[in-house]
Chain length 112, copies 2
């Protein structure tokens, strides 16, 4: 059995967490579901938890990441801004690059 290396990356802004893997997953769910409550349900987390995450994301980001509308046709909904879509794309890219980088590095351990 060989050693495996795992990693967790996240982006901070002004000492507050902006994006992590969980937040990115939630943003993706919002994009496909069109609403925060449905996104939360699809991921099995409470609406409140999801809301506080998105609230934190939007407060930390330089520009709005989602646009949440309350009331109106269908009761409202949530959608990603273009900036939000770009953020999750770049995050995924960095994360993927990190994994492949670490998979190379971990070989140093096998030689011991």
């Amino acid at each position: 059995m060989s050693y495996k290396i795992k990693s967790r990356i996240w982006i901070e802004s002004d000492n507050h967490v902006l994006l992590g893997e969980g937040r990115v997953q939630l943003l993706k769910a919002i994009e496909t579901e069109g609403s925060l409550s449905k996104a939360a349900k699809s991921l099995g987390l409470s609406y409140k938890k999801a809301w506080s995450l998105i609230d934190s994301v939007n407060k930390s980001a330089k520009k709005p990441v989602t646009i949440n509308s309350t009331g109106g046709k269908g009761g409202g909904g949530a959608e990603l801004t273009d900036y939000g879509k770009q953020l999750i794309t770049v995050f995924d890219e960095i994360n993927q690059n990190c994994w492949t980088f670490l998979d190379e590095q971990v070989q140093k351990l096998e030689l011991l």
Copy 2:
């Protein structure tokens, strides 16, 4: 205020955590203190917490990482094996490389 990227890496063996930053810090303290109880105290964590961490490390590793002796002159003590010393060296090296790698990658976010 620019975005910062943070990371946490850890090594797993057979789906159990072998090494993380906290465990490495504890191993270093054992090396300098010569005992598990003193190492725990120097890091401000309980002896039980420290012991269970080291127990987990030794159970996950391919070879022993520390040698713990009970009783005898001075009551006993704990020290790192050569293998343990090599592990923390390589871990620190990989971690450092990961940070510099991510610092380059994060620049992609600033352009958005």
